[in-house]
């Protein structure tokens, strides 16, 4: 069942919240041994929560928009129960004393959180293989990665363990795994969703967003998640529309921009095919497709891999072994520097260490101007490119959304890119620009790479939409037009 389906069934009394939770937990029991989407399942707590919801419904009390719906959280969102590990040895036993704002909003809406999902350590990676605990596998082909960093959140929805999950997206960490697992994944405009309680990777890029099977489910979660938060100074004080209200209403006179950069020669031919087909679908729906230039998009990866590590090197400095988390056992003659060095060496995996070193380097005196300031300049230019694309009249083509691939290809095999960090970084080629520009974006199911799996399975592919800041409502309508026309997201991995 979809999120909306479960929600409506619980509200109508056709299914109790406890039954919904039990169904979710038994799916997890049956399939998570193979998929390994969860780092922690909170079965008893989920059932207790579900019983509360049922009692409230029985008592005729008002319940929230997600009453009794099982959902999963990426393990970088703080929960005041269980552990919040970011799939890192450093935070292996860490218990947060408080709930993230996103957690709190889900709970206030009546959702039943069944567990925390696996991820690339501190959200650094594109395959979930950088988890310090274990890799998560793609339910469509368990020899392949689910994508990352929100790989666990994608896999558990694709495997129908829950109907929705939350991920976080710093450079594509919601959209790329959504694409690789055949889901809808939304990265809201920067500032739409509070980051309070999201363990920071790169503060100026991080956003929390929904991962679901349908556009409507994402819209419903957006209704719950979005809104200004007094605990997050970067959360935007803008009105949160009802993302569901006009969802079925097609956008009239739709103009979509497809950048010339969408046809990168490294693209998998099936990715190119599904993009062409998507353009045809939209044309068939009466849309005008215009070619646009995003000339500075080519600096995206370089700028991203300077800015994100720079911020990360500072954000992760608090993991020093003094107050919480991993603390190395020191010998008698070892000093404070040893405490820092050893705790961090023991607690952080290779990719996290690599990015901390990169970030430290680009912020050092003598390199700051050449790397960090230049990257900020590139970031402003990328933003200007998008501003121009969305501007109408003489300012630009006035597109309602940009259409481009979500990834260069379908899910790759475990281990295929682990020895080649740069190849892994290019997984973000089409996604980082939305984070750098701070705009909204989503990935949606767009078809399959036929027989591309290790045993000849079809592997899902996605296309991406990007919208002007805070224009997610229209972007979701544009996505819904495509979904209704194609039904691409309906097929599951057959688990």
């Amino acid at each position: 069942m979809t999120l909306m389906g479960v929600r409506d069934a619980v509200a109508a009394g056709e299914v109790s919240a406890v039954e919904a939770a039990e169904a979710s937990l038994s799916r997890i029991d049956a399939h998570d041994g193979a998929v390994r989407a969860f780092v922690e399942v909170h079965a008893e707590r989920a059932l207790a929560r579900a019983r509360e919801v049922d009692a409230r419904i029985a008592a005729g009390e008002r319940v929230g928009a997600l009453a009794g719906v099982p959902v999963a959280l990426k393990d970088n969102m703080c929960t005041s129960w269980g552990r919040t590990t970011c799939s890192s040895r450093f935070l292996e036993g860490y218990e947060s004393p408080y709930d993230a704002t996103a957690t709190k909003r889900l709970l206030d809406a009546g959702a039943v959180i069944v567990g925390k999902t696996n991820m690339d350590e501190f959200a650094m990676g594109s395959s979930c293989e950088n988890s310090a605990f274990f890799p998560t596998r793609n339910p469509w082909d368990t020899t392949r990665v689910p994508g990352g960093s929100s790989g666990g959140s994608a896999a558990c929805v694709a495997a129908r363990m829950v109907s929705a999950s939350l991920g976080s997206d710093t450079g594509g960490s919601i959209r790329q795994p959504a694409a690789l697992c055949g889901l809808v994944g939304v990265k809201p405009t920067y500032g739409r969703v509070s980051r309070y309680g999201l363990v920071a990777f790169a503060s100026s890029l991080d956003q929390i967003g929904p991962m679901t099977r349908t556009v409507a489910d994402s819209a419903l979660l957006m209704n719950v998640l979005c809104g200004v938060d007094p605990h997050d100074a970067t959360s935007a004080n803008v009105e949160t529309p009802d993302f569901l209200r006009d969802l079925e209403r097609p956008v009239e006179g739709l103009r979509l921009g497809v950048p010339t950069q969408a046809w990168d020669e490294r693209n998998h031919p099936e990715s190119t095919r599904v993009l062409r087909e998507a353009m045809e679908v939209y044309r068939g729906l009466g849309a005008e497709i215009v070619e646009i230039g995003l000339p500075r998009m080519e600096y995206g990866i370089a700028a991203y891999y300077i800015i994100a590590p720079a911020e990360a090197s500072s954000n992760l400095a608090r993991f020093d072994g003094v107050r919480y988390g991993r603390r190395a056992a020191l010998g008698r003659d070892e000093d404070l520097a040893a405490l820092y060095a050893r705790s961090r060496a023991e607690g952080f995996g290779q990719e996290v260490q690599r990015r901390i070193m990169l970030g430290t380097h680009v912020l050092s005196s003598g390199y700051y101007e050449a790397y960090y300031l230049t990257a900020l300049k590139a970031r402003r230019l990328i933003k200007a490119d998008f501003d121009a694309a969305f501007a109408s009249g003489e300012g630009g083509p006035g597109v309602h959304a940009v259409l481009m691939p979500a990834t260069q290809g379908p899910a790759f095999r475990l281990g295929e890119k682990t020895d080649d960090p740069l190849a892994m970084y290019f997984e973000d080629l089409y996604t980082v620009t939305a984070n750098l520009a701070g705009i909204g974006a989503l990935s949606m199911p767009a078809g399959f790479a036929k027989g591309a799996g290790s045993d000849g399975e079809d592997l899902p592919l996605g296309v991406q939409l990007m919208c002007a800041p805070f224009d997610e409502s229209r972007m979701l309508r544009i996505a819904r037009m495509f979904e209704r026309e194609t039904g691409h997201g309906e097929r599951g991995p057959g688990m």
């Binding site: 408080y98 309070y196 363990v199 790169a202 503060s203 970067t234 090197s313 500072s314 400095a317 608090r318």
Partner: protein, 509 residues
Amino acid sequence: MTDVVRTTLIVGLEVHVQLATRTKMFSTAPNPAHVSFEDAAPNTLIDPVVLGLPGALPLLNSEAVAMAARVGLALGCSIATFTKWDRKNYFYPDLPKGYQISQYDLPLCFDGGLELPLDDEGARTRRIGIIRAHLEEDAGKLLHEAPGGAAIDHSIVDYNRAGAPLLEIVTQPDFRDADEVVRFAQLLRGVCRWLGVTEGVMQKGHMRFEPNINLHIELAGGRVVKTPIVEIKNLNSFRALRGAIEYEAAAQVDRWREDGRVMGPGAKSTRGWDDVRGVTTAQREKEDAHEYRYFPEPDLPPLTLDEGAIARLREALPEPPHERTRRYVASYALGGKEAAALTEDRAVSDFFDACVEEVVRAGVGREPAGKKTANLLLQSGAKRANERGALISDLGVTPAQVAGVVSLREKNEIGSSAADELFGLLCDAPGVEDARALAERKGLLQVMDESALRAWCEAAIAANPKSAEDYRAGKQAAIGALVGGVMRISQGRADAKAAREALMEMLGG
């Protein structure tokens, strides 16, 4: 050895002021620099933001911004309409996030300065430039012994102070001796107390000083060498500030003779002050201590202040204490010490100003009004304030009552000791009684009636015939004892001047 003809001391000062906001710089945890929380048990003024827990985010305390801007304005600074926050990255156990949120290249206050009085009257001044004043958060405290002083084999941290708002003020190197620096530090403390941004209790660490010191040594032949700059860290008393500067002023000549090192890149060093031995000591520095990797704080949007808001802060700014001191000296012919005593506390100074206005309204000229009011408050007022451990402004006497006493005295309707007594009675009187009415009721007014005066004089002569004899014999000074007798017999109601004249006349002077 080269002959030193003359040395010139060059000092610039950095001052950290803990702002007494209710909550911390970037969190809603209580601030230990606020009087309500200063005695909190260790590690109780904390929350996820203060401790730098995963996922916690900073929130700007606008009260701290307003306080900082007010200090900046009082120091003649411009206030930035656009500023931002930066992270200063370094590892230390008292720094929970591994970075301090500060302001690097766009401070809230900049390009200021003031005329520092170099004597009590403010007759001589020196212009002290203020380079900048910026906001940042304090660190916690790393302790190497247990609370109570017991020895431990490890270190412990108290995070109460972590995240407390700090204003860092940086002056130009405009000071030329230790006395100027201390005068400035005291003036700054006065201004900050005046504005209510800190209690300014040095023992509680409300202010910390870090002077940057070097010498220009003029040698025979006219060559001038500049010694390397020495920064003295964390001085928390005026005595230590003076001691450290005076010590360095002498020590840098010796150091230069020994090693010949002069000012230049990499030559700056950091020293601490040993209060017991009265010397500065070299501090161990890590090679990379200055690699702070500053970059803009992505968790906080830039801060914009509109010109209107800045103008309103400027208009609401009270006349600062040093300017008020100068005005008292100029307008009321007060001595520098008297004027300074009246401006030590803003409440007292405001009370004095209100009293003077009342006295002027009662028909006394402005200059004598100021002078007489100051005398009354600094004598009768200060005495009672001392006895009660209260401020002169909190004795329960109103400006109208003070004006009543001053004008009674000014019109010679009351003697000086009776005026003091009346002031004391007004302090203790339950309601607010008119000064004259109370004086009448208590019989403190001078009696101007000729016949009563003569009767008192006769009684005084009768009681002390020896003095009368002496006076008649030409011993002028003997009249004093007789005047004293009149005052005693009249219980202070006689006018001493009139009594003296009457006695002289009666004794055939």
